[in-house]
Amino acid sequence: MLEIRNICKSFGDLDVLKNIDLTVNKGDVIAILGPSGSGKTTLLRCINFLERADSGTMKFDEDVFDLHNASRKEIASVRRRTGFVFQNYNLFANKTALENVTEGLIVARHMKKAEAEEIGRKCLDKVGLSERYHYFPSKLSGGQQQRVAIARAIAANPEVIMFDEPTSALDPELIGEVLSVMKELAEEGMTMLVVTHEINFARNVSNKVIFMENGVIVEENDSKSFFENPREERIRTFIQNINREN
């Protein structure tokens, strides 16, 4: 469904992404692991043009996009078909939970308010927030805010959702509620790209794991083999370190 080829990106002298290729099939749940500064977040941000790549192409179903030179119209078309969940939730602070979900539908997709609200309520119900429609973000816990953000991302029925460290800003006891919503989405067949440090999510929910370091993909494997039979020495030390921590 998504074929990304030769994506490069540097910030000044620092090469953050070095010729990365990535193929995503429909229904894939891909966990992207790696130390901080390895380029994981930048990769996601380049895919929906929050960051302009220096070069690279992306084939999205039948459409081909130049990741450096895409027009405004092409960017809009990619964003229309993708959802994005941020580490810091980034909810609209002046909108209620429900309005956060309906805003894009009404303003960007010109949906009727009543119709958008019906979808909004359904999405919030799905993430377990049926009691919180009219709460402002400041009145919600971090876990609830992130679930509103997920509801906002799924509202427009995207073909793929990108999660950028969705649980990294959360208190440990709130991580579970967000992960279980993500697990549910995965089980329903949603295509997901998840930058994460949650090893258990990578091991148990995702079907593929990508390990990045210094702007390159060190290993790309199905989850089972990644953890049980890693090909690269680097991955073996990585897994040993995690096992030691747990």
Partner: protein, 220 residues
């Protein structure tokens, strides 16, 4: 206190209050409203980084903040006629005050816009909104809320600064006090009374500000 003083105070108080209601407040409110529109526009062309307009906005803010309002008033009211532009004193005052307020408030508004976390703008893009939709629906409402206290400050400042319009023969509170004083020779009394009338108006505005801030807070 002698009966004479009391009579003067009582008789002049009505005139001063009336001058405030008929001239000072309308002058301040009209100028401030126009100034706010200018401020918003000036702030937006800077944050949106529109090439030529951004430079112009910086230039405008630089000039206005760097010159006294009194001089600006004189340039417009006494100076412009010599190049054939004749404006009434009221129009001159509104022009100068709104341009001045616009420059100062544009910095307030710009700072408030920049205080809205950038992540919300990115989130707006991700749900398909464009820059101006995000500005109008997400950023500006939050920015104005943040800017409300400093903007109230500017309004209160402007109410007092309208006394400068006295110098271009606008009959507001200050001019009214002056006129009565030249007749009765009670300068001290009349100027104190004028100060008191300004205080009444500004106290009301401060009270209004606190009331509206509480209302805004409830919306969060």
């Amino acid at each position: 206190m002698s009966d004479r003083i009391i009579t003067i105070l009582v008789n002049s108080f009505g005139s001063l209050l009336l001058a405030g209601l008929k001239m000072t407040i309308p002058l301040a409110v009209i100028s401030f409203s126009i100034g706010l529109v200018i401020a918003l526009f000036t702030a937006l062309v800077q944050t949106a980084n529109i090439p030529v307009l951004r430079k112009l906005a910086r230039f405008y803010v630089w000039i206005i903040r760097g010159t006294p309002m009194m001089v600006q008033l004189f340039v417009v009211y006494f100076g412009l006629p010599s190049i054939g532009i004749l404006l009434s004193s009221f129009v001159s005052a509104v022009l100068v005050f709104s341009i001045s307020v616009g420059a100062y408030c544009s910095e307030t508004v710009r700072a408030a816009i920049e205080s809205v976390p950038h992540g919300q703008i990115e989130a707006g893009y991700c749900v398909g909104m464009n820059y101006w939709q995000i500005m109008y629906r997400i950023v500006i409402p939050q920015a104005l809320r943040t800017a409300f206290p400093p903007l109230s400050n500017s309004l209160i400042g402007l109410v007092k600064d309208t006394s400068l319009a006295y110098s271009i023969s606008i009959v507001e509170i200050m001019a009214t006090a002056q006129r009565i004083a030249t007749r009765t020779y009670d300068y001290f009394l009349l100027y104190i009374e004028a100060a008191f009338v300004y205080l009444i108006f500004c106290t009301f505005l401060q009270w209004l500000q606190r009331y509206l801030e509480r209302k805004l807070e409830a919306l969060r």
